[in-house]
């Protein structure tokens, strides 16, 4: 409270001080007998010199920042794709810095040099076709180079991955990431958001997960049967709005059940095994050095963006859409720690599309291992594939199963 008072007092005193100063200035101006529009030579020269001073501040500031922080605080690129991006980035930076220094210098220097001087009139020059042709065609040529090199790199890093690229899916939801490795067959099982249950968080499609979902939709807590019971219960009286919420919910669940039944009818059980051997991994994403990766992205709720700053790659995860990107890591985490001279360094996967209040905390550690370490980790992980993670007891077979409580 006291500080609020203080703030207000300071503002009031400040305003009074400025008002008094203006008064003073006005009185002085009246004595000088020239209007505000009549810029005096003294002021004019002062501003001309300040133009040059500012130019020095501007260039000095930029050079100081570049020397102190370099132009990528992210360190060297950690993927093959990132290396070509960085090469191109450096080239482009060289070009734009040259343009920046040249044009800003000319601007501020001319402003300083051609300040009004007594007895010297401005030169009447309205246009010069040759000059204009030159400064239209030079940017055009430079841009042609930038465009051609840019598109080459772009095609390189967005082209289809090789067949042997390891498939990993990154699944985004507010506010965490889940990775899914494709397992020994390197084929990711198909998914559908309608199959999401507590024991099938990614909604993988198998004959048994479809059955579980149908069961949960019908008999689970908050399922269709529950809602019908609620409506038919004569002991409780609902308000109109609650009643309409229940009815809307019921209609929605009946629609979803129909869709689930359709899915069951058309499901090909042959594809089950590609889902069963998928490996689900939270918190940390492990990658293998020098292996090409093909990442696919899904989102559960809103748009997220998978941003790998060190690998120089980024792709949105859009609900209802599949997106992809590829890269090949080239330094293990241990190697990068040495390169950056920072023993606690980790690679990271950020969420880089606003997704709600805790957006800033949505990230996943990324660890790049060499092939030996990676294979050892994978052997251990493969024992806990999707099939192993679903225990038979968890699949709701009978009404009122406790695992379906998530389904309200």
């Amino acid at each position: 409270m006291e500080s609020r008072l203080l703030i207000i007092v300071i503002i009031v005193i400040g305003a009074i001080a400025v008002a008094q100063l203006t008064r003073l200035y006005e009185l002085a101006a009246k004595m000088r007998k020239h209007g505000e529009h009549d810029i005096q030579d003294r002021d004019n020269y002062l501003n001309a010199r300040l133009m040059l001073v500012f130019n020095i501040f501007q260039f000095g500031g930029l050079i100081w920042l570049m020397l102190k922080y370099g132009w990528t605080g992210r360190g060297p690129a950690a993927s093959i794709e990132g290396q070509s991006t960085d090469w191109l980035l450096n080239l482009n930076f060289a070009i734009i810095l040259a343009v920046f220094f040249l044009t800003n210098f000319l601007l501020f220097f001319f402003a300083y040099r051609y300040v009004r001087k007594p007895g010297i009139k401005a030169t009447f020059i309205s246009h010069n076709n040759r000059l204009e042709l030159i400064w239209t065609s030079i940017p055009a040529v430079v841009l042609a180079v930038i465009i051609i090199l840019g598109l080459q790199t772009w095609n390189e890093i967005t082209s289809a991955s090789k067949n042997d690229a390891l498939k990993v899916e990154l699944y985004a939801q507010r506010f965490n990431w889940t990775a899914r490795y494709a397992g020994s067959d390197n084929v990711l099982g198909k998914t559908d958001f309608k199959l999401i249950l507590a024991n099938n968080e990614l909604g993988l499609i198998t004959s048994s997960t479809i059955d579980s979902s149908i069961q949960a939709m019908r008999f689970g807590a908050g399922g269709i049967m529950d809602l019908q019971k609620m409506l038919n219960n004569r002991d409780t009286v609902f308000t109109d709005s609650t009643l309409s919420v229940i009815r809307t919910n019921l209609g929605r669940k009946e629609r979803l059940l129909r869709l689930l039944n359709q899915m069951k009818a058309t499901h090909n059980a042959q594809t089950d095994k590609s889902a069963w051997n998928d490996i689900i991994q939270k918190d940390t994403l492990y990658l293998c050095k020098n292996k090409p990766y093909e990442f696919t992205f899904r989102s559960k709720d809103v748009i997220h963006s998978a941003y790998f700053p060190h690998f120089r790659q980024q792709m949105n995860a859009v609900p209802g859409y599949g997106t992809r990107l590829k890269f090949t890591p080239i330094y293990t985490t241990a190697e990068m720690r040495k390169l950056k001279n920072l023993p606690t360094f980790h690679y990271i996967l950020f969420c880089n599309k606003i997704c709600g209040g805790a957006h800033y905390g949505m990230r996943m550690m990324v660890v790049v291992l060499d092939e030996k370490e990676y294979n050892a980790w994978m052997r251990m992980k493969a024992k806990k594939d999707f099939k192993a993670s679903i225990t038979p007891a968890a699949a709701p077979e009978a009404p009122k199963d406790s695992t379906a409580t998530q389904m309200i």
Binding site: T22, Y25, E36, H37, I39, D43, N44, N47, G61, L65, Y69, T85, L88, N92, F100, T103, L107, F110, Y114, V115, R116, K121, A122, F124, I125, H127, E132, W135, T136, G150, L151, W154, N155, I157, S159, I196, L256, F297, K300, D301, V302, I303, S305, Q313, Q314, N316, P319, G320, R324, K340, H346, I348, N352, I354, G357, Y360, G361, M365, Q406, I408
Partner: protein, 617 residues
């Protein structure tokens, strides 16, 4: 061409009638008053948006530290114990962006100066339709009010007034989905920041767009039909060319944003699935299927990118006029400048996809947008070179307006060159949505347009209010603002190159994986915030000067800057119909400064050519 209007003007003048307070100051149909109304509203909104930015800059520089300043403005609801709430952080960012882009730099810049200058510089009595012009302001006013009030939504009420019904009442606070309000985040009203505040955001924008369309149509018609005798298209000042093309861009692109907003309102309130497909919120499965969140982005950026030029072109137009006047030299390459404005206007419609390189859009489509986007650099470069050459061998008078106009050229360069990096899809993916982008667009669009706005206010203040601003205060304001602007946005590039994502409440995550980068980001954020506070204090000087001079400034002479354009041939005191007698007749282009053989170093447009004088262009 202007004869019919001329007659009408005379009639008006002869029956001089007293206007009531309401018709003169409130529901005025006079373009000069409407221009002033736009300016006042924009000054207020601009001040609000600037304060919001200071609030979240404090959080970024000193995360988690108690601040009396924050609790003073945000109270216990949004800054418990002086620490900013993480949802409200996004709310502040969202409303700051929205107000600055639409209400200050679109409404404020184009609204004020198109209204003031189109009739005055063309030699017209008023806009083609004074009534539509009045409506355009009042739509703008209502939408500003709604946007401002949306900041105060809390627990289903605004200032203690209950929001009726269950009309999206879930959630507190204003829209919190970023100024682009991408669905599904903005469509799911059960999420924080997508409740009633978001509904207000969308309604406000819909009204804003309606107003903007009315204004733009009026500007176009006026420019095409109401030019005075002798004012051929190629004798129009570059300001008018810029406003004209801006208005065309607005008419062609704002309706697309309106449709985007309407479809989003439908998804929120009527249960449609334009933008929604296969979504779970928590454990609630939505049945929406087949919609596309990317559809919204295409619609949004179809406006969003022309919008950049709706903001920039008027600023460039104003500065062309100011630079030529105060360099006492013709603008270099008038026709090339007109050509550049037209080229930028055209190209701005086919580049929107560069905002979407990482949405999963087909990479080939991305390549096309890379090509078209980088093409814009050519007319932009031409404009910059022409400005620089206009200064060359000039006789420069540093009025505050001239200083801001030169600073505009500088920020246009500085922000423009980083655009080349972002337009290149291969590079964009590495820095998309980082602070590098924030730095880029704040310099090239934010700063340039704000400098254009200030330049315009300093230059045309005598025409707006018949008074002079204090010049020395103008100098102090300018230097603080320029140093502040570069001090804020230069370091921001480096924050972005360190990979720091925008719209992050804090960067504590960095502590877990790269302590060096964390230190760097925090250091830079402190520098940025200190410069931001200095720059904000500088604006107080401007506000003081502005309001003080409106009431107590010295009276303005008729043509204070010794300028050529027609607005300086009108009397200082505003009058309905602008010119007391016949409309001026135009005999030359507006840039006859320091013409050899002339007695003065300027020849107004209504002065006939001398006996052996050749018309220049």
């Amino acid at each position: 061409m202007a004869s019919t209007h001329d007659a009408h003007g005379h009639a008006d003048h002869d029956h001089h009638h007293e206007e009531s307070f309401v018709s003169k100051y409130i529901f005025s149909q006079d373009h000069k008053m409407i221009g002033k109304q736009f300016l006042m509203t924009a000054v207020f909104m601009g001040f609000v948006a600037m304060m919001l930015s200071i609030l979240f800059r404090i959080q970024l520089a000193w995360p988690g530290e108690k601040s009396d300043f924050l609790s003073f403005f945000l109270g216990n609801q949004w800054a418990p114990e002086g620490i900013l709430n993480q949802d409200m952080y996004l709310g502040l960012v969202t409303i700051h962006g929205t107000i600055m882009v639409f209400f200050v730099l679109t409404g404020g810049l184009s609204g004020t100066f198109s209204n003031l200058l189109i009739p005055l510089q063309l030699g017209a009595r008023d806009m083609a339709s004074g009534f539509l012009n009045m409506l355009s302001y009042w739509f703008f006013f209502v939408s500003s009010l709604i946007m401002f009030l949306s900041l105060f939504v809390f627990n289903g009420s605004i200032f203690g007034l209950d929001i009726p019904g269950d009309w999206g009442t879930t959630g507190n606070g204003p829209a919190m989905a970023g100024w682009t309000v991408y669905p599904p985040l903005s469509a799911l009203s059960q999420l924080e920041g997508s409740g009633f505040g978001m509904t207000l955001w969308l309604i406000s924008m819909a009204i804003f767009i309606a107003g903007s369309l009315l204004g733009s149509l009026n500007y176009i018609v006026t420019v095409l039909n109401l030019r005075t005798a002798g004012m051929s298209m190629l004798r129009m000042p570059l300001t008018i060319w810029a406003f004209f093309v801006t208005a065309i861009l607005g008419v062609l692109s704002f309706p697309v944003l309106l449709s985007a907003a309407l479809l989003l309102i439908m998804d929120r309130l009527a249960g449609t699935s334009f933008y929604l497909s296969d979504i779970m919120v928590g454990s609630e499965m939505l049945t929406n299927h087949g919609g596309s969140p990317l559809l919204y982005q295409h619609l949004f950026w179809f406006l969003g990118h022309p919008e950049v030029y709706i903001v920039l072109l008027p600023a460039l137009g104003l500065s062309s006029e100011i630079i030529a006047t105060n360099a006492r030299k013709p603008i270099f390459g008038y026709k090339a400048m007109v050509g550049s404005i037209l080229a930028i206007g055209f190209l701005s419609f086919i580049v929107w996809g560069h905002h979407m390189f990482i949405t999963g859009m087909n990479p080939f489509l991305g390549s096309v947008f890379v090509f078209t986007t980088l093409l814009i650099a050519i007319p932009s470069a031409v404009k910059v070179f022409n400005y620089i050459t206009t200064l060359w061998k000039g006789s420069i008078v540093f009025t505050p307006a001239m200083l801001f106009a030169i600073a505009l050229v500088s920020t246009f360069i500085t922000g423009g060159v980083t655009g080349i990096i972002l337009a290149d899809s291969a590079l964009d993916i590495a820095i998309h949505d980082t602070y590098f982008v924030v730095a880029h667009f704040h310099i090239v669009m934010g700063m340039s347009a704000v400098f254009g706005l200030f330049a315009g206010v300093y230059h045309w203040f005598p025409k707006l209010y018949g008074k002079m601003l204090n010049t020395r205060m103008g100098y102090v304001h300018f230097w603080i603002t320029l140093v502040g602007a570069y001090g804020v946005f230069f370091p921001m590039h480096f924050v972005g190159l360190a990979g720091a994502p925008r719209r992050y409440y804090n960067f504590t995550t960095y502590k877990e994986f790269d302590t060096d980068a964390y230190e760097m980001i925090l250091d830079l954020n402190v520098i940025i915030t200190i410069f931001a506070i200095i720059a904000a204090l500088g604006q107080v000087i401007f506000l003081y000067n502005f309001f003080y001079s409106i009431f107590r400034g010295p009276k303005a002479p008729q043509n204070p800057w010794r300028s050529n354009t027609l607005e300086w041939t009108t009397p200082v005191e505003h009058m309905h119909g602008n010119w007391p007698g016949a409309l001026p007749v135009v005999h030359r282009w507006p840039y006859d400064y320091s013409k050899p053989g002339a007695a003065e170093d300027f020849i107004p447009q209504n002065v006939p050519l001398g006996p052996d004088e050749e018309e220049s262009h």
